[in-house]
Symmetry: C2
Subunit: 124 residues, 2 copies
DNA sequence: CTAACATGCAACCAAATGGTTGTAGATCAG
DNA sequence: CTGATCTACAACCATTTGGTTGCATGTTAG
């Protein structure tokens, strides 16, 4: 099978592009639309009150972030969503949360240390 | 208890701010640092090859995104991470993935329909 | 009190972003 | 072939972003 491959770690630039792409509601909607149904760029463009060129640019941003891919079909360009990239972003956020849980665990560990004595050594 | 409250849905602007804040590696690192240990802005600033004011701005961006909060302690400002906001972002991404799974389910449902006949009508 | 420190904030600048219009090339319908 | 459609891309513009420096203010240490 081709699925279940472990992907290499994302670079900082790749992560920048992913979150940057997600930081715009039009692009999030385009992503949502192409998750629901694969559509051409012009079909997608009909949903938004902006020029075709603007939508084209938004799709390009999503593409550079690897959140979607395009496939030419005749004169149309079909936008495919890439759920794997999205999942990796979600897992990335989970990892940050995990750091926080680590800290809590460390704090609890310190609190659990029954302090045996209050360090009263002799100096020299 | 105060935990386990169901938060209201995030607005588009809030989501913009969250992903926008995450789309910069310095800010992601600041977030990581403050997850590991609560630090003042100037302590955080020492880690980066940029001015204090620049770091201050990055922290402000994280704050506007509700990813961190600041608490004044004497002359210092302590940066607290907010894991809940991060978790909500992660769950948001999961929701997009789920849309895709819905589509797959719909496709499978169609394929499972045993096609009873191969539409061979008479034309005129 | 005074000096050092931590912060807040304004002004400024270059580059990136998000939109526009216009032009041109490919492809499909008739 | 001709016209309509879909896409690509360039040029342009306003706004935002990510950085800087400089200055003012509050706080702590001596």
């Amino acid at each position: 099978m081709v699925v279940d491959q472990k992907p290499r770690d994302l670079t900082d630039e790749e992560i920048d592009r992913i979150f940057g792409a997600l930081a715009d509601s039009t692009r999030r909607d385009i992503l949502r639309q192409s998750m629901l149904r694969e559509q051409s760029v012009s079909e997608l463009a009909k949903n938004y009150a902006m020029s075709f060129a603007a939508v084209q640019k938004h799709v390009a941003v999503l593409e550079r972030a690897l959140l979607v891919t395009k496939e030419r079909r005749g004169r149309e360009q079909i936008v495919h969503s890439n759920p794997a990239a999205l999942r990796r972003a979600a897992r990335l956020l989970d990892a940050y949360e995990e750091l926080w849980r680590d800290r809590i665990r460390r704090i609890e560990a310190i609190l659990d240390e029954t302090p045996p004595r209050t360090g009263h050594d002799q100096g020299t």
